[in-house]
Amino acid sequence: MKHILRSEWTKIRSVRSTVWTLTVTAALMLGFSALLNASARNTSGGPIPGDQTIMLSLTGTLLASLSMATLGVLVISSEYRTGAIRTSLMAVPKRMSLLTGKIVTFVAISLAVCTVAAAGAIGVGAAISQPPSFELGEAARSALGSGLYLTACGLFGLGLGTLVRHTPGAIVSAIALILVLPTIANQLPGEWGRTVAEHFTTNAGLLIVSGQANGSLGPWSGFAVYLAWVALAITAGAALMRHRDA
């Protein structure tokens, strides 16, 4: 596995799409934080409380989830698009080892970059809105939550990319599952509809960023539910990858 990880690290660091998607992610996190905190400061008469600053600072997470999902998709779909997957599988014929290598490499890079970007966003936000009191522990927990959430979104993309193999198709599915369908799910009527909506992908996953609970789930249980969705996509993709011709 050590060899495979070195190989995947070399691959991911040597293409522009990695640099681009990570840059966009960081820019969205910092940009939204600056924008929202500045406008909150201008419109509110008094000081902005610390927990509200943190919340505003991490709003970029909502859109950054898509740039991370795109990177996740590309990690595998770009190999299918170019045919380079054959070279990869000739080098590592155990397909599940190859997929695991890609997942581990992606998680390491994504966790590092996204958590740092989230921490930076909180720092920028706090510098702008100057909250009277600021809980460092809460800030750290939120930054980590955002890093975890964004990494899970990237893995969702990676799973969908493995499943669909086709870049645009996988990105559209990722947008649907991360952004569009959760909103639609919120319109479901009745008690049953509400439970479904609360468990639906990012509706559950985002709880770890806000640190709040919805009716059915808390931050960590919500994240666990989101991870189950991600695992479903990856498992389905892996099953297909195992059996079909490369």
Binding site: H3, T10, T82, G83, T87, A91
Partner: protein
């Protein structure tokens, strides 16, 4: 040890049978040409050898084992399937480095193989901008990374200029001379005749011939003797086995000496008496004519 051993190998894609009940061995120390018309199943067979496509039936072993059981496969087998199937955004060096790392091959090998194929100067350039010839060389560099005993090339000279073709041909001969197994596909007999020692010919996925190049020439097509004479009709009557063609007679099964002796006794003057050697291309066309997928 037999390098590649296929037994009753079959592959179906939905309704199309790409490979049917194919058995052959590829031996080390020589260039084995894998020959067949377009769509014969050469690339499919190579993908099955490399564990990329799953056979519908039968098996193929590399060095006695299924490909996916090789621990560091690239140190045993190097292959060039499709030179353009690479991520164009990467530099040649990073492309090779990623492949080298995956099999624990030292990074220093990357420079060595770049040197071997003559790409050292462009190692830092994006491979998306490479010409087909440069891509082929890069593909060969990748195949050589693990210093493998077994090499597979799928139509390596496609789209190359004469210099490039000569380079690859010489290179494959050298690899075989070092005792390696070289298995190379082509749909052109003329190409293989100059490179290969042994031929495996397939058509419509089935084996047509498995033979040495010399044997192939001798067996599959006979030469003939071309006879011209102002009194051709009399010659035809005399030797009986001649096949009339416009302006000349084609005789198979008799030597020039036999024909010359007969006509000399009858006092018939000859304009031409020539033995026409069998052409390899003709022999190949003859063999594969029943199995052509697409006829023009």
């Amino acid at each position: 040890m037999t390098a590649i051993r296929a037994r009753r190998l079959s592959k179906r894609y939905g309704g199309t049978t790409a490979v049917a009940d194919l058995s052959f061995d590829v031996e080390p120390g020589r260039v084995t040409g894998f020959l067949g018309p377009n769509g014969a199943g050469k690339s499919t067979t190579m993908r099955m050898i490399l564990g990329l496509d799953r056979p519908s039936g039968g098996s193929v072993l590399v060095d006695g084992r299924p490909y996916h059981e090789l621990r560091h496969p690239l140190r045993k087998v190097g292959a060039l399937l499709d030179a353009k199937a690479v991520h164009g955004g990467r530099s040649a060096r990073n492309h090779l480095l990623a492949i080298a790392h995956s099999n624990g091959i030292p990074a220093s090998r990357v420079n060595e193989v770049l040197e071997t194929v003559g790409l050292r100067e462009v190692a830092g350039r994006r491979i998306g901008g490479f010409s087909l010839g440069m891509s082929q060389r890069l593909g060969i560099a990748a195949a050589l990374l693990g210093d493998p005993e077994i090499l597979l090339f799928d139509e390596p000279v496609n789209g190359l200029d004469p210099d490039g073709i000569l380079w690859i041909r010489t290179f494959m001969r050298e690899l075989a001379a070092e005792g390696r197994t070289v298995f190379v596909s082509s749909h052109l007999m003329s190409e293989m005749a100059q490179t290969a020692d042994h031929l495996i010919v397939i058509g419509r996925g089935s084996l047509i011939a498995d033979t040495s190049v010399t044997e192939f020439i001798g067996r599959s097509s006979q030469g003939y003797v071309r006879v011209r004479s102002p009194r051709l009709a009399e010659v035809a009557d005399l030797i009986k086995v001649g096949e009339p063609h416009p302006g000349h007679l084609r005789v198979t099964g008799m030597s020039t000496l036999e024909i010359g002796t007969i006509t000399a006794r009858a006092g018939i003057p000859l304009e031409e008496l020539t033995y026409v050697r069998p052409s390899l291309e003709a022999a190949y066309m003859e063999l594969t004519k029943d199995s052509l997928e697409y006829t023009s």
